[in-house]
Symmetry: C2
Subunit: 309 residues, 2 copies
């Protein structure tokens, strides 16, 4: 579908929120000439100052309503808990034919939050780029963040095909591969590939911090044994993640139930010395790693090169 040689050009692109993702979109869109005009807004004065210093957009606003005037494409890049109030503010002022999109990590509640403020002349194409790092803020972004990552679109029924195609093309121009699925399926897939892994990482880092027999300094010193891999994702933005769990409750609780059930089975194997059962599971999981590397979603360098200097 994507024609790499001539990217689609958007007239005016408005980015609401200049964190890691918003600022990465701004950078990538600028570098790849995907819009004639890029405007952005952020509620934080400190963020706006940095954004202006880095020239992330042509104009940086404090007020989202000012920001979206005459915009052709508007992308919400704030925590999903803010979507409803932002949609209430901006939707009445969006220009006819404007396409609203987002980057939220949950999709079912996002569609419910925004739909009441839409009308026949504004089209909403929810999107979720499955990309990121544990760092936050406008300085953490970079223009190649979306390269070779997947972006999932979950257009509600009745969304005009032309609007879906525009956002599809936009993400391909940003370097991503695009997949379309229902909001419900998205939330289930992400619950297991992202939300529950984060929850477990937050949890074990918390468990380790609370131990009385092992000091925090020991946990930190000996983290190279595996623990540090969890701390990376447990260092992700607290507000963003709070909103994700509260907005994908159903799927997260279901996947967590399965995880816990499996964990009890594994615990039982250890208690009853079932070496064969353990070995079989550990051999299966090794094979999945190989598939992820083969699909280009990971590097095979040992330890991501951390061990070698």
């Amino acid at each position: 579908m994507s024609d790499k040689s001539s990217p689609q050009t958007i007239g005016k692109l408005a980015i609401i929120g200049l964190g890691l993702i918003g600022s990465s979109i701004a950078r990538a869109a600028r570098e790849r000439h995907l819009a004639n005009v890029i405007v952005a807004c952020d509620g934080s004065e400190a963020v706006r100052d940095i954004a202006r210093k880095l020239s992330l957009a042509d104009t940086v606003f404090a007020d989202p309503v000012e920001c979206i005037q005459d915009a052709d494409v508007i992308i919400l890049c704030t925590p999903v808990g803010t979507y409803e109030s932002i949609a209430r503010l901006i939707c009445p002022d969006l220009k006819q034919g404007a396409i609203l999109s987002d980057v939220g990590s949950v999709k079912k509640t996002v569609v419910s939050a925004i739909s009441p403020f839409l009308n026949n002349t504004i089209h909403f194409v929810p999107a979720h780029p499955v990309a990121g790092t544990e760092h936050s803020g406008p300085e953490a972004g970079f223009g190649t963040l979306f390269d070779n990552r997947w972006c999932i679109l979950t257009p509600p029924e009745g969304t005009p095909e032309s609007a879906v195609q525009l956002i599809d093309r936009f993400w391909r121009d940003l370097g991503s591969k695009v997949e379309i699925m229902s909001p419900e399926h998205h939330d289930l897939v992400l619950a297991i590939t992202s939300h529950v892994p984060h929850l477990i990482a937050f949890n074990i880092v918390g468990t380790a911090a609370d131990l009385e027999q092992v000091t925090q300094s020991e946990v930190i010193k000996f983290s190279a044994g595996g623990f540090r891999d969890f701390t990376r994702i447990a260092a992700s933005d607290p507000t963003m993640w709070r909103d994700i769990f509260l907005n994908n409750k159903e799927a997260v609780l279901e996947m967590l139930g399965r995880f816990t059930e499996d964990l009890y089975a594994l615990q039982r194997m250890i208690r009853w010395d079932d070496g064969e059962g353990l070995h079989e599971l550990f051999s299966r999981t090794r094979a999945i790693r190989r598939s992820i590397i083969a699909e280009g979603q990971e590097t095979s360098s040992p330890d991501f090169g951390r061990g070698k200097k």
Copy 2:
């Protein structure tokens, strides 16, 4: 303690088992001139062939008893489940004053397995370098694997101070920092910093593989959302990890119990919309990450540089 300018020289160093750790010790000891003679053995003919091709040791044996003849320092680098049978074989043939050590990830059962075969003229100094990658085998090793990592020694009571000092110095010469603690405390610390994290990683990768609503190809595609961080450690050697869990059952089950208890509390926060509780936990865990980076046990580059090409 360590005098970097003139490393200690061991007469004859014998390495039993040439996997990731054994072959890394061989490489580092050779590169840093830590022994006059380095011999090694491995039960696998394929591994011996590779070891000879890579010149990992002066002589590579199939038989551990031949390997340890006249050795001053002997290091067991095989899965801990093999220690008892190897000790039974080699201890009667160890030379007077020989120092036996190991690299096992558990220490209490290791001490019990080996002690019966010791006598007054052989000294056992258990060691555990907290370092590694998810790769296995003699080709996966590298000479800088132990740089700036911690090595934990757990000498049983009555071990001569000179033997402890020799192994301490050996690991410092290999690039590590050294800490001494009891086998019991070691097993508790490692249960939370390494064993339970691995168990959880093996478990969630297994849970994801078994889902019927989400396909395996979806899990792989969208793994950049967090899941892939778990697959790295879930790709570690199955035999080694089976042995670790079976040999550190008590501490692993205790830490796992705490983890599960905390996970239930977290699950409850999600179910009851306790956004404040979630935010507080997620902010705490972020701070621990910073300490690990400050201690030099991790790099702060976003995503370990995976996101940037």
